[in-house]
Each structure stands twice: as structure tokens, then as C-alpha cells.
Symmetry: C2
Subunit: 301 residues, 2 copies
Amino acid sequence: MSIRTGTLAVLAALLALPSARAGEAPPTTASVLETSTADDWRRPDPADTLYLDLAGGRVVIELAPGFAPAHVENVRTLAREGFWDGLSINRVQDNYVAQWGDAAAGEAGARGLGGARTRLPAEFERDADGLHLAALAEGDVYAPEVGWAEGFPVARDPARGRAWLAHCYGMVGAGRGMAADSSTGAELYAVIGHAPRHLDRNITLVGRVIRGIEHLSALPRGTGPLGFYTEAVQRVRIERVRLAADLPEDEREAIEILRTDTPTFRRLVEARRNRHEDWFIDPVGRVELCNVPLPVREAAR
Amino acid sequence: MSIRTGTLAVLAALLALPSARAGEAPPTTASVLETSTADDWRRPDPADTLYLDLAGGRVVIELAPGFAPAHVENVRTLAREGFWDGLSINRVQDNYVAQWGDAAAGEAGARGLGGARTRLPAEFERDADGLHLAALAEGDVYAPEVGWAEGFPVARDPARGRAWLAHCYGMVGAGRGMAADSSTGAELYAVIGHAPRHLDRNITLVGRVIRGIEHLSALPRGTGPLGFYTEAVQRVRIERVRLAADLPEDEREAIEILRTDTPTFRRLVEARRNRHEDWFIDPVGRVELCNVPLPVREAAR
């Protein structure tokens, strides 16, 4: 069984093309971004923007309250109360995840969660009603439908009327134990390898790294089981985690993210589907969810 | 248009299940590997095994002469003649590739290729005749058919009778300029991020990292365009590159790779499709080409 139907699929993809204006060069990622307008970009809400500060640099995460409201609220509380300050990145598993939190969690000496809740519902998926999905024509191996909504890669099952965040590179989730509802957001991970889409709907995703993923992805790999560091000294210290909204305005990053609900974004997807950069011999004609970048740029202050 | 057909696809996947023997626990990756036999494993041919030695450790690459015979022959020659010794890793682009070779290539002071050929045909694809593909039932976003052959992730177009290696994590290719036939194998890259499948059939893949990818994937990212290091001092020195066949037997790595043409490998794919580890709430029921590991283990000497 193949999920790609050859010529028909290519035809359908061609029919889905935004029509090129006469005399216009076919779009590339660079040309789409160059011709974008100010309205194509948005500033992430400071209440949804988390700064994870390591000695090596700052990782900026956009939270997704539309998908995991309880977890995001907990993460906000934990950040405000300095829960992660002085804790560490404890696990870096190659082609998989970097994970941070309290290395003593569940043991004597573990930090309390303060004002955060110790028990949350699993937030593996949400009602698809009211979610505007910019659907990808190619479909997907893992889900009936995929695309983008609210700036995130998303999967949807129309039959069940449910939607969920997809584990693309850079997505951030809340580690859990064996029980579905055992995550609190105190233990977080970021995807640093090929999209582990088998985690979709098995764990709660809370957001996405929008800048500084290299401060996690280039860390030494742990040599213990699951990529945990085997010695305390190997752990990477977290200087501080804060919500942008809890910092004075002049200490906030000036970041803009390309909207995913616009004609410009559709052109970007098309530019990634049919590669018109001179280097490409075969223009490809297909694109997969996690191979479409979600561009971020420095905003004017 | 969706390439996944919901219930039907799940049914088809179930029908493709290797039948479980009565009383047997459903397979997991661990149980499949534990119950594998000696015949399920193979030793890579020393003539196809390349050692890339960095200060940080050894990267072992299995070459794919069945797909890129001319490039592999050139790589063998370059290794034998010490071409890469003292050269460097010059580019590490996050979520993409690490690339090595002569930083002065194309400029004054560039190393000559010695006995290697300076012009090779592009080897983007091969005749599919004679290739035994263990096809993946789920299909693929990028190619009409995918699966495994000769130990590598492979895509196939039955209509054209062509097959090619797929850009999964860890695959190694030969960098090229603008012309399709401008690669020689002297400049190599390894995939260290989400599978850039749009490179398939656009560039010649020559093999796969079978051990030590972390010595490439955890390197500092380059901050220049395309992830090139901006200062010579940032480049990561290559101590030595050799073909295993050119070293005395007692200096060769004792590595075994799980065969991909066996019932055991089909069970492994099934164990990755339907996740029976206790941690999984949703067993998934689907698996994508690049999410199936190709296990490697230390062999008895």
C-alpha cells in the first residue's frame, strides 16, 4: 500500500499552487521572505514567551496555550517562582531530545513546585473546532491531516474532530512518567533530531523553540540510558528561566514570527514544495510537515 | 488531499502484521533485538567501512557501492592516500548537515585529489532491477515507495524502475556545486537533523554513519551562511580518515549491523509501528521510514 498516488498526487499538488503572476519568477524561500510585509509577521505574546538561560546562551520558547492551557499555566507559575533557576539539563539523547528539570525529582531533596499544580490533566489533543488549519496538500504518514495553526505544526483527525501538536524539530514537551497525567511541566524536553512523531498524542507538547535551539542541540550527548548524563558534573546548569511578561520591557527579546495563516505563508510552503533555487536539479514537488521552516526574525525595537 | 486513508490504512497495516505466535508478548524493539540470532547480523565489508577520526572520537561510516559505485571508489582512493588527514569539518548547520573536506577547495593551496578522479557522474539514482526492497506499508510523503535494501533506507519509483538512497538522519553524501556532476566525494556531509528528503535525487549519497554520529551532531554550529565556521580556528581538525580494509585486522572496529532483509527486521519495523512498550498510551499504528532504527552492535572479536 502506498499513500502517495504518483501522477495524481503531483497533479493535485500542482492544482493547489497559488497562481503565479505573469512575469514573476517562481518563489524561493528567500524571495518569499524578502517580499513579505510587516503584516505577515507577529510578535509572540510576552505571556507565552519563555527564556531558558544557559551559560552558552538563551533559548527562546513560544508556549502554546491553545493546545496545553493547564501545562502552560503551570510553566508560567514555575518560571515566575524561579523553579528552574540553578537546576540543569540532565539528558541529551542524540537524534531525539534534550531534557531539563530537577535531577532529584521524585527523590529526597527534590524541589517543591511552589504555587504550581502537582497534578494536571494530560493535554495530548484538543477539540478541532475553532482551529483554523492551513492544511498541507501532501498529507502525512502519521495523521489524517497536517498543517499549521496558531504558528505551530499541527495534526488533525476530522473523523474524531480532534487536533494536536506535531513533534517536529524544536518542539517542546512536558516529560511524564508511566501515567498519562503524570506531567506537570516542571520537566521539559525539546526535540533535537528527526521528528519523533510516534510521541504525538502520547505526551503533552507545550510549545516550540523559536530561537537558540543550538544551545540545546549541540550539547554533549549523555552516555547513560536514554541519554541521561551519568555524572552530576556533566549536567548543564540552568542560570535562569523567566517568562518575558515577568521582565521589564527593555529586557525582552525583540522577536517576530512569520504568521502561518496568510497567503505569504502559503507561498512559503509552495517555495519549499517546488524548489526553484538554482542548486536544485529536481524541484522535488513534495514537502513534508516538518520540513517547512517557521521563520523567526529580529524585530525593530 | 490526504495520503492517509484513516481506518482503511490502519486495517491494511494490521493485515501486514507478522502473525504473533500464541502466548507471545507483542514485540518491542528490545524484545526483537534480544531474540535475534547470529544470522540476523552482518559484518560490514572492510572495503566499505570508513573511519573518520576526530580529536573527539571516531565516526564509522558504511559506504554504499550498490548505489554510488563511482563515488565510493573515489572515497576509497582518497582515504587510502590520506587526502583528508589534517583537513577539517568546516560546516555544521543546525538541523541539517555537518560537512568536511578541504576548506581551501577551489582556491589556491587546495589539495589535489591524487589518484582519485576529478570528474564523476552524478549518482542520484540507480536501476531498481535486482534491488530487493523490504517495502514499508505506510508509504511516504516524498516517494512512491520506500523501505530498506542492502542495509540502507531506500526509495523506489516502480513506474520508472529507479531507486535511490533516502536522506534519513546519519546518511552521508557528497557535496556538490551547481552542476549535477560536480561532486567527487572529497567533500562529504552527514545529516544531523530532520531528514532533508528534498535532497533525495538532487545529490549523491554514498553511505551512512553507523557509529559515532554524536562526534558530528554535537559540534558547535557554525555562525556563517549555511552553517560554515567563520574563523579557521573554529574548524574541527580531522586526524585521519582510513578505510577499514587498509588497516591491519586488529585495528578494525568489531561492528555488526542488523540485516534488513530478514523476518527479524520485519518484526523490528512492526515493533516500531505498534509501540507495545508500557510507556505508550497510544500504540501509534504507523511508522515513517526515517523513524526505524538500523541497529548496530559491538561484535565479538
